[in-house]
């Protein structure tokens, strides 16, 4: 075991010492690929956070008509309390609604506020949001189902949840979610191809070394394992450096965005990708590096490398 580790360490250090320009070029290409991957993941991650925040602020209002009774209101309350998807339903009396209305309209229509009959036109209502565990993509369907159930209940005049806005929001989240996943997969596959290609060039230039090892009777594992470890190490180091670089760029951009979109109050929502995704990117780098190296070296090291190089 110690001899194997020492052989691999020696292989990697010699490889860097004797093929420095090639190894540096490979590393730069790998880092660039991972910067693109982590950039796309960061964008997608933050977009999802912002959309989730917007989704949490969506509210449903159930308005009661003039003829609604205490029994009607209790029935609706029980329905909402028992529903697993409903978050904190709140009953707003006519008086409370009027008070809020007056507060909001005081500066716009002072005459209107002195109208004593105004309270007749303002209905009592239930207001609620949806539980956080409901995905942005499911929110529209959940709201539509709840609204349909509530509308047919006694004493209910109307159910409002900003239908048009919720529809647009739902479409946007679906498109961004599918598009983001598709884009991440495409970028990851492209990065894997770029890695494979660059590692392939690096290994192809060392074909002579593989040939000599075959000629002195080295087994496939003896030849391949150091190259695979080297590929894994390069993938791991490149992905880690790329993440560090992305974090630097992200921090600078975040400060810039903080000033530019302060009015949207979103800067607290914009974050760098979480630890779980960071680890996943590094593991992807290690596996992709090892796999690319294994495929490339296996292509050359088939026991007959010396013949093929002459063809």
């Amino acid at each position: 075991m110690r001899r194997s580790v020492s052989r691999i360490t020696s292989h990697v250090s010699k490889s860097w010492h004797h093929h420095l320009p090639l190894q540096l070029a490979t590393m730069i290409v790998l880092i660039a690929s991972f910067v693109v991957v982590s950039g796309v993941i960061t964008m997608s991650y933050n977009l999802n956070r912002v959309l989730t925040l917007w989704g949490e602020s969506m509210q449903v209002s159930v308005y009661f008509n003039e003829n609604s009774t205490e029994q009607n209101i209790s029935y609706v309350k029980k329905f909402l309390d028992e529903n697993q998807k409903v978050e904190k339903p709140k009953y707003v009396t006519k008086e409370a609604a009027l008070s809020v209305f007056k507060e909001q309209m005081a500066s716009y229509a002072p005459d209107l506020l002195s109208d004593k009959d105004l309270v007749k036109f303002i209905p009592s209502s239930f207001q609620f949001g949806l539980k956080k565990h409901i995905n942005p993509e499911e929110q529209l369907e959940t709201m539509q189902t709840l609204a349909a159930s509530l509308k047919v209940m006694g004493g209910v005049e109307d159910v409002s949840y900003g239908q048009e806005w919720v529809k647009s929001y739902s479409t946007l989240t679906r498109v961004l979610s599918w598009g983001g996943e598709f884009f991440i997969v495409i970028i990851a596959i492209s990065a894997a191809f770029v890695m494979a290609n660059s590692i392939h060039s690096s290994i192809a230039q060392r074909r002579g070394e593989i040939e000599v090892l075959e000629l002195v009777g080295a087994t496939a594992n003896y030849i391949r394992i150091p190259f695979v470890c080297e590929g894994a190490l390069m993938g791991g180091v490149a992905s880690s450096l790329a993440l560090a670089l992305s974090y630097g760029v992200f921090s600078s951009l975040k400060n810039y965005l903080h000033n530019q979109i302060a009015f949207l109050q979103l800067s607290s929502q914009i974050q760098f990708i979480g630890m779980d995704i960071l680890l996943a990117v590094i593991i992807f780098g290690v596996i992709a590096g090892a796999l690319s190296s294994w495929i490339c070296v296996r292509h050359i090291n088939d026991g007959w490398a010396a013949i093929q190089s002459k063809k």
Partner: protein, 220 residues
């Protein structure tokens, strides 16, 4: 030890490099194979050392059927033979010591055994003082002696050399041939492909002549 039976080797474009070659070489023999450039010496060398496969016929070396040998068996076979190339095939980024040690390292010998054996063989070929140098910093003759040391370190039953003196001056060539004869005297079968007819005449060993891929003479 070495047995060729009706061996043909055809490359793409219907180039027949070997045609119906039959050959038997016994254990401990020293054999030269001679012929002009393009006669088939190198192809025969490749068949013998499992660096290429025959198109038809059978090649049997040290008990291995090289026409049917698998990739896994090839590495086992190559540990039983020693091969010397005209272009040395040394690893440029490794020292002379490391190059010579390769056959022992790939079979997993212990480091102290490897060190001892490499020191012995380097002394035998007169390269003890060059052990820590890299190939690019030693002469052509020293590089060839390094390649010979690498081919002999694991004490192979068969030593196969393709133009081992092709890049060397006459004095160094004689020195290398003396070394190969000493190896043969210790029981190793030695097979040398060369076009240096003067040297072949001086050595008075079994000589196989090949021309256009056909064996045209075998003088014992």
């Amino acid at each position: 030890m070495i047995h060729f039976s009706h061996v043909y080797k055809t490359y793409s474009g219907s180039v027949h490099a070997l045609k119906n070659v039959d050959l038997n070489i016994d254990k401990g023999e020293f054999v030269f194979i001679t012929g002009p450039s393009g006669a088939g010496k190198t192809t025969l060398f490749k068949m013998l050392s499992a660096y290429d496969r025959p198109s038809s016929g059978s090649v049997n070396v040290a008990g291995f059927d090289l026409g049917r040998i698998s990739a896994e068996e090839v590495s086992i076979f190559r540990r039983r033979i020693g091969v010397i190339f005209q272009d040395f095939k040394l690893l440029k980024d490794q020292t002379i010591f490391e190059n010579v040690a390769l056959p022992l390292l790939v079979r997993g010998d212990r480091p102290n055994q490897v060190s001892r054996r490499v020191a012995d063989i380097l002394e035998h070929v007169g390269l003890s003082n060059k052990a820590n140098q890299r190939p690019e910093f030693i002469s052509g003759g020293e590089q060839q002696r390094t390649a010979i040391a690498r081919a002999l370190i694991h004490q192979p039953g068969v030593l196969i050399a393709d133009e081992p003196t092709g890049n060397l001056d006459p004095n160094l060539s004689e020195e290398i041939m003396d070394l190969l004869e000493r190896v043969c005297a210790q029981g190793t079968t030695v097979f040398v492909a060369t076009h240096d007819l003067e040297m072949v005449k001086r050595r008075k060993k079994r000589t196989i002549k090949i021309n256009n891929g056909i064996i045209v003479g075998d003088s014992k």
